[in-house]
Symmetry: C2
Subunit: 516 residues, 2 copies
């Protein structure tokens, strides 16, 4: 332990760091981080009366959700779940941790990001990294060969968090998958329809869904002269095209991965292509591409996919993009990724919220949904290697939350965090018992009601609570009302008051709040 004077010196220095950041209007996240360091130093110094001091923070890369954030989250989940149910999906849940071996060998290089549990005797466990591998384990374990299911749950990655952009170490995934042996591209098209529906309904601005196929990528690599054993690593490099320029990608291929310049240039021509069904048709005629059986199979399916997407009327947002590669190893066919393209309203909101978000102005939140076909994953778990073809999509909800939160922040409309319909109040003293009795009556009738936990609260503070939390009605009791068998029903926003007979009160409250 460092000596007291040293720590005091460190506190002084750290205090200046915090002050400086605040003066510069640095991001809240940055300030919070430095304040946390300052607090830790203060803890080291020892608190008053030597009481144990806690570091008051959540684990790195995680956050609490306050009631306002939860209200937004509930709204987003409702939209997503409604869509999944509209498409006839069942719901499953799996534990937050799996046997470590279940996750081994599924994520390639990203395996280093898996959280392991401490060996406390017994099994070796890891926190789930996604919902797809537990789903495949579930199918194999229960010998399920066809199911359409959704699963909404938190997953865990020891990644570098960038919380202002919605990148966390604990985050939600909303997964929809169709498992089963079906005719080509029908379930695949439904997954894209679902992404289209959800992103439209959430009103996040314009978006685009890129699609490609692992078979087209592999075929392209083959005809461009990429050696078989380099397919995967070159695919990872192509995957970076949404973040870095073609020049950088080309240089990585040639210099780091030892690809010939000719091969790289040929790839370069293909990955610049974007289109729709026409592009798939054109590539089927392409002298080189048509030499690869794999590519042809992928392109024929791509045509089929677009024909179904036309029936679903979603082709306006879908682009066949040969540069889309996706990181994960387990994809075997169609892959897709949705990005928000409209950077307009969101950064404005971010700038308004004044937390020094300027550096991020115009920066897109990136991919908000992704998925594809993985026909081999279940077979990896089945003792006899029996395959169950699967295709699915995962909605990355934290980024959506970030946007919705910023929108709510910028909007004049107040987010309600409760659904309370009526506050049971009194203007006079000594009416606690009467208030409690009436409140219980309302609860028993299914009315959402609140009452102040004070013997004699002031009427003003009762009304103020309604204003603050958006409660639309107040049921006011007084000696006279009790004598008359009525309740004074006050509308908070208009301040109108009418007497309602006690036995009509429930009905009247229901009538007035039926649109809430």
């Amino acid at each position: 332990m460092a000596d007291k004077a040293q720590i005091q010196e460190a506190i002084k220095t750290q205090g200046e760091v915090v002050r400086k950041l605040k003066a510069e209007k640095a991001s809240k996240e940055q300030i919070d981080e430095e304040v946390a360091k300052l607090l830790e130093l203060k803890v080291q110094l020892g608190g008053d009366e030597g009481r144990h001091q806690f570091t008051l923070k959540t684990a790195k890369g995680t956050r609490d959700y306050n009631p306002k954030q939860m209200a937004i989250r509930e709204k987003v989940f409702n939209t997503i779940i409604s869509c999944f149910k509209r498409h006839g999906a069942e719901n499953i849940d799996t534990p937050v941790f799996e046997l470590k071996e279940t996750l081994t060998g599924k994520y390639g290089e990203d395996s280093k990001l898996i959280y392991d549990l401490k060996d406390q005797g017994g099994e070796l466990l890891s926190l789930r990294y996604d919902l797809t591998v537990p789903f495949a384990r579930y199918l194999a374990m229960n010998k399920v060969t066809n199911i359409k299911r959704y699963h909404i749950a938190k997953v865990y990655r020891r990644d570098n968090p960038a919380m202002t952009r919605g990148r966390y170490r604990e985050f939600y995934q909303c997964d929809f998958d169709i498992a089963g042996q079906y005719d080509p591209m029908i379930p695949d098209a439904e997954c894209l329809k679902i992404v289209h529906e959800i992103l439209s309904e959430l009103e996040l601005g314009d978006f685009r869904i890129k699609v490609n196929d692992r078979r087209i990528l592999d075929g392209m690599f083959a005809v461009c002269g990429v050696p078989d054993d380099k397919f995967r690593t070159i695919c990872s490099t192509v995957d970076k095209l949404d973040k870095v320029s073609w020049e950088d990608v080309r240089s990585e291929m040639v210099k780091e991965k030892g690809l010939s310049e000719e091969a790289a240039d040929q790839i370069g021509q293909y990955v610049s292509l974007q289109g729709g069904m026409d592009l798939a048709e054109r590539l089927l005629q392409d002298a080189k591409m048509s030499q690869s059986k794999q590519a042809c199979a992928g392109l024929t399916d791509m045509k089929q996919l677009f024909s179904y997407l036309q029936l679903f009327q979603v082709t306006d947002k879908v682009v066949f993009d040969l540069s889309l590669a996706r990181g994960l190893d387990y994809y075997t066919g169609v892959i897709y990724e949705a990005i928000l393209t409209q950077t307009g309203p969101v950064p404005v909101a971010a700038a308004q919220n004044g937390a020094g978000e300027k550096a991020e102005e115009g920066v897109s939140v990136g991919s908000v949904a992704g998925g594809g076909r993985y026909d081999g994953l279940v077979g990896m778990f089945d003792p006899k290697g029996r395959k169950v073809p699967c295709v699915g999509v995962s909605i990355g909800i934290e980024r959506v939350f970030s946007i919705m939160e910023q929108k709510a922040e910028a909007s004049a409309e107040k987010v309600r965090t409760t659904e309370t319909q009526v506050m049971v109040a009194s203007a006079q003293k000594n009416l606690l018992e009467e208030r409690l009795r009436l409140t219980a009556e309302l609860w028993n009738a299914g009315i959402k009601a609140e009452v102040m936990y004070k013997k004699n609260p002031k009427l003003l503070s009762q009304l103020q609570h309604c204003e603050d939390s958006g409660i639309p009605l107040v049921a006011i009791l007084g000696e006279q009302e009790l004598k008359d068998g009525v309740v004074k029903l006050r509308t908070v926003h208009s301040r109108e008051e009418i007497d309602v007979s006690r036995d009509k009160l429930v009905e009247e409250i229901k009538r007035r709040t039926s649109d809430v």
Copy 2:
């Protein structure tokens, strides 16, 4: 690694263990456990073609939820959440893991059951053990001094699982807490009202809510001559009274904890007492009890509590029980626990389900809810020790699930796992495109619709799917219908069919399924 012959021998022996258990109709859990051992041995032996073999199981003490279980869970959650919202509660969420130090020193002996994460560099983390400590951390960290919130989430305990009785290592808690400085016993009474509402609405059979107060217990210990430093350990022993007899408890007090026989016998007289407000009044007059200021404060509040419970009309289920002690250290006032008393219908269902549950016939699932007042916990986190009085209740939902599952199993009524309203089908070939087009129309109109992912499915298999999954309507397309601009709408249970004009279809489906 053991040699092959040894493993083969072990497999043979283990196989016999499994066969024997099956013959004895042992519990599913027991059989599953032994089968898992068998599978592990087979894995050791190496699979066909040397492919890596997985142990196909979930971690000990955890389980997957299949769609049927999820449907039941959703129903239970809806009941609970509706009640919490009816009482004006806001919702929060916290991360699944906390800094290890946040949990340290909060759970007494039970701390050994906390799951720690592996030290992979960075912070030391643990999975949350309950939702109360994270809530207190949240309040202190965000300087919240009053809130009524609910939180429904999974918690983790490395306990001995007894899964058939709903005891898991990963399980849900549904917590409702009221934080803030209020007049005595009003929020406390609301917590009990909530337990009463939820247990009534879930229709789990009769129940009882025991209440007591830590101050009454401590006062009782004092007047019975328990030394101050033995209060806590004697309290733990009293806590066992719901599981073991008074004789055993007395013996533990005297022989293990060194209490005098006189003190033990005096305690014995008090802890046998049960009653209502009358008992609180009687004890306030009790020559010994009335000597303890603490006990008197607790008893006066108990009287107050019962007066509020009378207003809430819930005294029929509430018993003031001096033997209730509760395990956790952090309670400072009122404590309570709800138990199901009706063992009737449940074990019958369990017996019917034929999984060898006989041994548990008549065994109560024990406590399904518990809670109390903890006025000191937030102060443990606040840097200046500022206290925020809190009272809350936690509904232990896994036990409720177990009962609901058994009920569903025993009931003739089928649990639907989707909400699909209509299946879009065709009797003839080559109508896939028309089916997809109509399905998309229905989705876009907010109708929950399914379509088979086959080019030419048989009508019979389409109808069979409706029967299996409870879909009430089928929209059948054929050449003639397309020509006439109609759809044949079939009611699955009655087999009636009528032609509906295509532009009236959405309306007609909504009308027919409005009660679904």
